[in-house]
Structures are given as C-alpha cells and as structure tokens.
C-alpha cells in the first residue's frame, strides 16, 4: 500500500496502490489530502461515512475523490485514515467507505495546495498481478 506523486507540469499526478481495489482507493485519498495538508498532523477525531455508485471504477474514483474535496468546504473536515470497500453491483460498482479526520486547522495542518477538481485525464484503475493501482491527476 502506498502512493507517489508523479512529475506533471502544472498539477498533481498520483499513482496509488494496494492489495485490493479498496486499498488503492484509500491510498489515492491519502495522496489527495496529502497534497492539501500534512497528513501526519491530521488526527482521527471524527469519522464520516460515504456511499457512492458508478458505472466504472475510474468514474467511481473521480466521484470518491471529488466527495473528499467537497467535504473540506462543506463540513470543513480533512481526513487521514480511510477504510474503503468496493463491490460489483449488477452493471455498476459500489463504494462504501469510512474516513477519519478532523476540522481543517490552518495553524496545525500546514495547508498547501487547494485542489480545484479531479480530472479525467490520465485516469486509470488497473490490476497488475496482485496489486491494484489507481492513477489520477488533480487540477490545483
């Protein structure tokens, strides 16, 4: 499990991975929050549940990350721990997730870049052997 930021001229490009697609989505989320604040200072004080559906894993990844971006403005929360479960449901894929974090505190969280949106460019969810990868570009 982990993530890395790839080189990209204007924005933040991410490759995240894990043993399951859910783990890859959790790491993708950590990379997203890590672009905005210092993850190590975010304490798991409160949690939020997410339930999303999508027609593909890629579009589900966009919706998942976009939901986390929106949460920062709506409830003011940023998260550092994620538990993500993804199952096929008929023609769709469904995500259930819990996220643990706390209200964004500029004095403690070392705020960095504001993510404007999750792009469809370079969007990929794939499995290679035993490892799932989630790749995306965030516009900042």
């Amino acid at each position: 499990m982990g993530f890395t930021y790839l080189d990209h001229t204007a924005d933040i490009a991410v490759r995240a991975w894990g043993g399951t697609v859910g783990e890859a989505f959790a790491e993708a989320a950590r990379a997203l929050i890590g672009a905005m604040v210092s993850l190590e200072w975010v304490r798991p004080m409160t949690s939020r549940a997410f339930a999303l559906r999508g027609s593909s894993l890629e579009l589900l990844l966009v919706d998942w990350l976009a939901a986390l971006v929106a949460e920062k403005d709506v409830s003011g929360l940023v998260f550092a721990r994620f538990d993500v479960d993804i199952v096929e449901d008929g023609p769709e894929v469904a995500l259930r997730a819990s996220a643990w974090g706390e209200p964004l505190d500029p004095a403690r969280h070392e705020p960095r870049l504001e993510v404007k949106g999750i792009s469809l460019l370079g969007l990929r969810v794939r499995v290679d052997g035993e490892t799932w990868f989630a790749e995306y570009v965030a516009d900042v």
Partner: protein, 486 residues
C-alpha cells in the same frame, strides 16, 4: 508523422496544423519557435499530454468555426490547451467543459491608486503585511462574507452587482468590469446544491496555487494614448488581484464533467479526449451548462469585488487613502465561454467563444467595451511571476480578425511543481526577491518554491510574441513590490 511534424510555420510567430484525421478546421498556433520546441521536448520527455494534440482535438469538435487557436502562452491543459481559443456556431456547435475548466472566470482585476512608488517604497513591509492579514488566502481561510443559500443564488444571478449593492464597492467598479460584473443568463437551478454549500464562506478569498494579490508599480509606459485612457502613468502604484470562482466554480466544473459526459453519449458525439465532454449549444444540457457557468462567472466577479473592498480597507488603514481613491482599471476573466458577434468570412455571426487560459481582448470600437476605453480597446492583464514583470496590454483590430479578439493571460509554467520544489527552497526564493526589492507574504513556503520565478517561462517572450503577431499591444509594464500568496 505526429502533430509536430505536420506543423507548418507561416509567419515569424504563426504556425498552422492543416486538417487531417477528424479535424474539421485547421489549428493555428501563435508562438515563437522556442515555445514550439519546448512543447515538442516536453512531449519527447514523456509528458503525458501535448498542447498541439489538444489544438487538434479542439479543431475536431462539431461546429468549430474558422480554426482552433492557441496563443503565445500555450501549454498543455485539460481538454483545451491553456492559451486555447475555440469558437463554435450556435446552431451546430457544442459547449465544451474542457474549454472552460474548473476555475470558471478565473481572472485579474487591476486597481489604480494615486500613490507613487517613491511614497511607499520604504513602508512596503507594513503595507504588505496588512494586505496579507486583511485578504484571506490559502487553504482553509474563510471569507468575512458568510452567505446563506438564498444569498448565494443572488451572487450566482447578479455577480459583482450584488456585492456592490451590499455596500462593498461603487458603481464605477461595475462599469469597468467585463459584462458589468454580471453575466446574463445565469440560472441558480443549473447549479448543484453541493456547489452552493461549498461557496458559503468563499466570497472574498484569494485561494492558493498561482493565485495572488500584488502591489505593483508602473515601470514603463509603452503606449501613451492607451495608458492615459486607462489612467496609468509611470511610477504609479497599482494592485493586481488574480483569483477566480473558488469552490463554487470548481464544483460546477466537476458536476458538468459528469453531466455532459452522459450528454455526449445521448447525442452520440464522438470526443477525442474525455475532458472534451460537451453538449450541443442549443440542447437542454448545453443551455443548462452555459447557465451554470454564467453563475460560476458571476461568483468570480463577486469574489474579486469583495477582495477589492478588502484592499480599500487595508490601504485606508496603512496609507490613509480614501476608498474612492482606489479605482478599478478593469476586471477580466480568462476561463470562460461566451456568445459573441464576430465577422467570419465577411459575415457577422453569433458564435460561442471558449477561452481557456486566454482573455477576451477586444480592439477599438466594440460596444461591449466601456466608453472610456472604446477608442483604444479594453485592457488585458498578463501575469508574470513573483520576481518578474506583469503587463497591461490591449486588444487590436488584427486580433479581432485573427483570434476572435483574444489575448494572452500569463507566462505559463516551465517546470512542474515537483521539479520546482526540488530546485528551489521557499526561504531562498523569499530572500533573493527581498534583495531585489520584492516582499513575499505567503502561508505556505513550499508553495513559494513551486511558484518561484524560475518555474515559469519568460513573460517578455510571451508578450513579445503576442505583440509580433499583432494580436495584443503592450501598454505598460508593471513590477511587483509586495506579493500576497495563499
């Protein structure tokens, strides 16, 4: 043969990509050779995207008129390239999400003051510090104006006019804002409740990344007549505000990436790239998208209006300036799609002009331009970097013919954030600029490294190319004195 091999240089700073594959019209790129070579190198280095291929994509979209255009600050974007312009016929054309992007109506407002550089130079720390404390910037900084959903609907519909009526500005601010500070046709019902919820404390915030507020002075006047019309003279202190529609616009962009993705399937429109999702302009989906981005654009006008108010409050405190002494030169966006009339092949037609990282730059005589500027064309603002110059330019008659009256918006990145952060230290950048007489006030030192002057292209080259092509004409050169960053 790739796009670069097919590019034909037809002028000193003009290149044509003749139609092939699905292209309906040619691509026309206004850039110097160095820019083209740099774009080619980046692609050769394994860059994930190519600005020239994106020009090709724009030229392939239904209803595109004349040519897909790229201006001298061209670099890869999402869907359209940055510096990309595409006009589409109203009856047969499409509204493209990738032609506007997430930061709807991101733009620049320039404010003039009666102050001279010599009057403030010794006091710049105090003035900059107060602006830094007064204008909320950076991630998590909320604005002083907290709005209910009903009030947000009014911002969506009325833009800067709402903010002025609430007491945060004067009528002249609106007169010298593009569209009078209020895009018509905005429909709050076309904007999701999530977008509205995200906006409630964002009006009057600068944001982060490449957004900035700068205290600058006029270093050189290059076009005396236009500078006089704009009320700018050598040594004069001005304030530039670069920001956009904040979370409101971001969410509208994200929502419609999905909604128009579905519309593309419904209307069986083949798209060359996922970011080019679109809908026919006259379809319900297309109309809804345009009504939503008009609302987003109004959010941006409102935001820059509120920041103008905060700048006035700060300058009153630090310089004793009466708020009426700080006036708007102009406010203009560089991510938008607008219905405009243009002469195309000898016939005046209505077209939907997408400008992505490009401003409107109307030459003399257009009715949309404020009367005071109509004889010279309206001003456009070309952001440099923290350590270099910015420019005020103006539209030209040739630009009306060649680019639907469009202009450059900035220098454009040369290094990725990752490379810039490796190459520069924020503290070093701050102290080097301090020696050059420029004060940096930033919430995030790493952000300063990423936005270091060396991470951007040379603004002089971009301005030079726009001028050489006859598209835009330089009016004054501005130098930063204090820079406020998120």
């Amino acid at each position: 043969m790739d796009e670069f091999d097919r590019l034909e240089q037809v002028g000193e700073v003009e290149w044509v990509l003749a139609p092939y594959d699905c292209m309906i019209v040619p691509g026309r790129i206004y850039a110097d050779r160095e820019t083209i070579e740099q774009l080619r190198r980046e692609e050769g280095d394994g860059a994930q995207w190519s600005a020239i291929r994106q020009v090709k994509h724009v030229a392939s979209m239904p209803g595109i008129v004349s040519a897909a255009l790229a201006l001298p600050d061209v670099h890869p974007g999402y869907g359209f390239p940055i510096g990309g312009v595409g006009a589409f016929g109203i009856d047969d054309g499409v509204a493209v999400v990738g032609g506007v992007g997430f930061d709807i109506n991101c733009g620049v407002r320039l404010l003039r003051t009666p102050l001279q550089r010599s009057e403030v130079a010794s006091d710049i720390d105090r003035i900059g510090e107060d602006l830094f404390r007064t204008v909320p910037a950076g991630l998590g900084a909320g604005g002083s104006l907290r709005l209910s959903i009903r009030e947000i609907d009014r911002v969506l519909e009325e833009g800067a006019t709402y903010v002025v009526r609430e007491g945060f500005g004067v009528a002249d601010d609106l007169q010298f804002t593009e569209e009078g500070g209020r895009m018509s046709g905005a429909d709050p019902d076309a904007v999701s409740s999530l977008a509205k919820q995200r906006e409630f404390q964002q009006v009057g915030t600068l944001g982060s990344g490449n957004h900035y507020l700068e205290l600058q002075y006029v270093e050189h006047v290059l076009d005396a007549a236009a500078a006089a019309a704009y009320g700018l003279s050598e040594g004069q202190v001005v304030v530039a505000v670069h920001t956009g529609s904040r979370a409101l616009g971001h969410q509208i962009g994200q929502d419609y990436l999905k909604e128009l993705g579905a519309a593309c399937t419904r209307y069986a429109i083949a798209i060359p790239d996922q970011e080019m999702v679109c809908a026919p302009i006259k379809s319900p989906e297309g109309r809804r998208y345009l009504a939503a981005i008009a609302g987003g654009a109004n959010g941006a006008f409102a935001n820059r209006q509120m920041i103008t108010h905060l700048v006035r409050v700060s300058l009153a405190r630090t310089c004793g300036l009466d708020p009426s002494a700080v006036s708007t030169v102009y406010d203009i966006g560089h991510n938008n799609a607008k219905v405009e009339e243009h002469e195309i092949d000898g016939e005046v037609r209505q077209v939907l002009v997408h400008r992505k990282g490009a401003t409107r730059a109307f030459g003399p005589g257009r009715p949309e331009t404020p009367a005071a500027y109509r004889s010279v064309g309206h001003p456009i603002f070309v952001g440099g970097t923290m350590g270099t110059a910015s420019y005020v330019m103006r539209g030209t008659e040739l630009g009306m013919k060649k680019t639907f009256g469009s202009g450059i918006h900035g220098a454009g990145r040369a290094l990725s954030r990752k490379k810039a952060a490796k190459k520069f230290w924020g503290e070093d950048v701050v102290s080097a600029l301090r020696k050059a007489g420029i004060r940096i006030f930033a919430h995030d030192p790493r952000g300063v490294a990423e936005e270091a002057p060396g991470a951007y292209k040379d603004v002089e080259r971009v301005v030079g190319a726009a001028q050489a092509a006859g598209l835009n004409h330089a009016v004054v050169r501005l130098r930063p004195m204090a820079v406020i960053k998120g």
